[in-house]
């Protein structure tokens, strides 16, 4: 168990800056997820923490010790690779014990730890097989086992589930979460899958193009995305984003006009001027089906996906180019091409300025004050 501090950590490959100065604190026993689209620098950042990649600038501090010049072999961390990277010429048992033998841990202690890890991961039956004779899921467990036996200061995972099929991925996700609970160890987990991030993390770090867009607990990011990128990245289906402008300003509230002639009032604490360009965000699950009188939106339905427990409606507002997705609980009979009456709750709406930054909601400030 350990804590980790990144201070203005940068990475360049030649002229190309890949990580632009990341500041981050990870506490003892925290489960932190780096999430972002492919190529945003998640692996690079993780590998710099591991010591596999040297850092161009900044500081990495683990348990109060500067790690900048400490070799990966001496950092006492363990990593689970996307490819698993099991040693093909060693049995599963040897794969697990290799690091301990290198560290000259006594024989009986090695045996105890290997047996313990094998029991936790249910790989006892394959200990004497070679990795080639294992399924993808079993290899995955061995890779995790190899990290566990080391009792590392920090566990690092680089997209460990991406080579598994969907069902196994969900099962393993749950197991890694349980493992974290059981070991109480600090874990850093990289994924491009926001569902993995939302379900596993204590703290999510959203990355884009080598920049940290937002750090926070999963529900914080969901409820208060700091900008358009995070708003669009976290949550599935994606948040609907509709371009508009400020039509009227009142204390603690603005009227936003979208899709040409639809006006909605949003409680925001910020100063906005009439005519300012803004983007209105609302999540698919925050629309309500309304009677024609209470509705403030009429959606032209393109097509409908009935999933049983919920219904997804794809459509557009008349006069707006951006598509809209609506997620309704339960089952609904809605015909393609018809018009669907919807209402939006003011406190579920997000407003972003022309730079894509979220404007704080009035209610949030009131609660904070």
């Amino acid at each position: 168990m350990a804590d980790l501090k990144l201070m203005s950590v940068r990475k360049s490959y030649g002229q190309v800056d890949v990580i632009h100065g990341v500041d981050l604190e990870v506490n003892h026993g925290e489960f932190v997820v780096f999430v972002g689209p492919s190529g945003c620098g998640k692996s690079t950042l993780l590998r710099m923490i591991a010591g596999l990649e040297d850092i161009t600038g900044g500081d990495i501090i683990i348990d109060g010790t500067y790690m900048n010049d400490v070799d990966a072999t001496d950092r006492g961390l363990a990593m689970v690779f996307q490819s698993y990277a099991l040693y093909p010429h060693m049995t599963v048992r040897k794969n697990l014990s290799f690091g301990l033998e290198i560290a000259k841990v006594p024989r009986d202690e090695i045996e105890r730890r290997v047996a313990e890890a094998a029991r936790i991961l249910k790989i006892e039956d394959y200990l004497d097989r070679h990795p080639a004779k294992l399924s993808g899921g079993q290899r995955q467990r061995v890779a995790i086992g190899r990290a566990i036996v080391r009792e590392p200061k920090i566990f690092l995972f680089d997209e460990p589930l991406s080579n598994l099929d969907a069902e196994l991925r969900v099962a393993t996700r749950v197991e890694i979460a349980k493992l974290h609970e059981r070991l109480g160890a600090t874990m850093i987990y990289v994924t491009h899958d926001q569902v993995e991030a939302m379900t596993m993390a204590d703290k999510i770090v959203v990355l884009r193009n080598g920049i940290v867009e937002q750090v926070g607990a999963p529900l914080d990011l969901y409820n208060h995305p700091a900008n358009l990128f995070v708003a669009g990245f976290i949550g599935s289906p994606k948040m609907n984003l509709l371009d508009g402008h400020v039509a009227d300003v009142r204390p603690g509230e603005v009227d936003v006009e979208i899709a040409g002639n639809i006006r909605v009032s949003v409680p925001v604490a910020h100063r906005l001027a009439k005519g300012d360009a803004v983007t209105l965000g609302i999540r698919p699950e925050h629309f309500l089906r309304a009677g024609a009188d209470a509705a403030n939106l009429k959606l032209t339905v393109d097509f409908v996906e009935g999933l049983g427990g919920e219904t997804l409606v794809y459509g557009a507002l008349p006069g707006a180019s951006q598509p809209v997705i609506v997620k309704l609980d339960g089952q609904h009979r809605i015909e393609n091409g018809t018009s669907l009456s919807l209402a939006m709750q003011p406190d579920q709406m997000h407003l972003f300025d022309s730079n894509g930054r979220a404007l704080q909601r009035a209610s949030a400030t009131a609660a904070a004050a």
């Binding site: 591991a50 010591g51 596999l52 070799d71 990966a72 072999t73 001496d74 961390l77 363990a78 990593m79 690779f81 490819s83 990277a85 099991l86 040693y87 093909p88 010429h89 290799f98 690091g99 290198i102 560290a103 070679h130 990795p131 080639a132 190899r146 080391r150």
Partner: protein, 310 residues
């Protein structure tokens, strides 16, 4: 009636097949003639000759096991030839493979200009086996050769030729062979490139330092390639001939110190015209090589692991 149809249709099928492959078989003919007339034929003939006394001028006379009895019980030059050849194989093969591996690792690490260095390091293997280079080496190391003159400058007595010294002649030939490490090096280099980078990274995360990674990851992962190189180089070394022939002017001297097995065989057959005995020597060499190869294959079970995960 039915039988006739089926035979003729089978014949038709064969004819069709032949017409389709005709030009291909035509291209094969020179090779087939070469193999049967120039390789398999003489080989089988020599198997018979091994049990005869044959001086080329008169027809061979069957003598049973006489040749082998002489070989194992009386022929001291045969023993000398075996000793020279085994010494050569046991030194030159490990040294050559070791050097090839070292250079391959150095080239694998470097990034800039690797292709150029690879070509440069391969050069000795292209030209090193040639007669011209053996002649050059003779010029370098023979009496009054370049090294001789250099040694004289350093105060050694004149005539300290390395190649004329029975203590050093074989060593020189071993060095000359080790110098031709290019072929195994290129194969090692390809083998090193095959080892996934993340295995090294996983081993680093496991705390393994450079040397530990070399012995516990790189070497075992390279085992199939080492195995291949070991077999090829051992066979090659047993068959070594040209350098010894040129350097000693075909004598195996000084005092038989470079009397390679193949050189002795050549002398018996083509200098002394004891073709029957030479054939017996040739077949015994084949048995030695086969035995070595078989031993290597048997040992492979214990040290070669083929990666079949991918």
């Amino acid at each position: 009636m039915a039988t006739i149809t089926s035979t003729s249709s089978r014949w038709d099928a064969f004819a069709r097949q032949w017409r389709r492959g005709r030009s291909g078989y035509m291209f094969l003919i020179p090779w087939l003639i070469g193999f049967f007339a120039l390789t398999l034929g003489p080989a089988l003939a020599s198997l018979y000759l091994a049990f005869t006394k044959y001086d080329i001028l008169t027809p061979p006379v069957f003598t049973g096991l006489d040749n082998f009895r002489y070989m194992f019980l009386q022929d001291y030059r045969f023993r000398q030839a075996l000793q020279v050849t085994f010494t050569y194989v046991l030194w030159s093969v490990p040294l050559k493979l070791g050097l090839a591996l070292l250079i391959a690792i150095a080239l694998d690490k470097g990034t800039r200009g690797v292709d150029l260095y690879r070509a440069i390091f391969y050069l000795p293997s292209l030209i090193g086996g040639s007669v011209a280079i053996a002649v050059l080496w003779r010029q370098l190391f023979d009496r009054d050769g370049l090294t001789d003159q250099l040694l004289q400058l350093l105060g050694w007595p004149p005539g300290t030729s390395i190649l004329n010294n029975p203590d050093h002649a074989l060593k020189t030939l071993i060095v000359l062979s080790v110098w031709q490490f290019g072929a195994p090096m290129v194969i090692f280099l390809a083998g090193l490139r095959q080892i996934p980078q993340d295995l090294h990274e996983a081993a680093r995360m496991d705390g393994a330092k450079t040397m530990q990674r070399f012995f516990r990851i790189t070497l075992p992962m390279l085992a199939p390639v080492i195995f291949f190189n070991l077999i090829m180089q051992t066979i090659d070394a047993f068959k070594a001939f040209t350098q010894a022939f040129v350097v000693s002017a075909g004598t195996g001297g000084p005092i038989d110190s470079t009397l390679f097995y193949t050189l002795y065989l050549y002398q018996e057959g083509f200098a002394f015209f004891r073709m029957g005995y030479a054939s017996a020597l040739a077949w015994f060499l084949l048995i030695i090589i086969a035995a070595f190869t078989a031993l290597t294959f048997l040992s492979a079970k214990y040290w070669v692991h083929y990666d079949d995960t991918r």
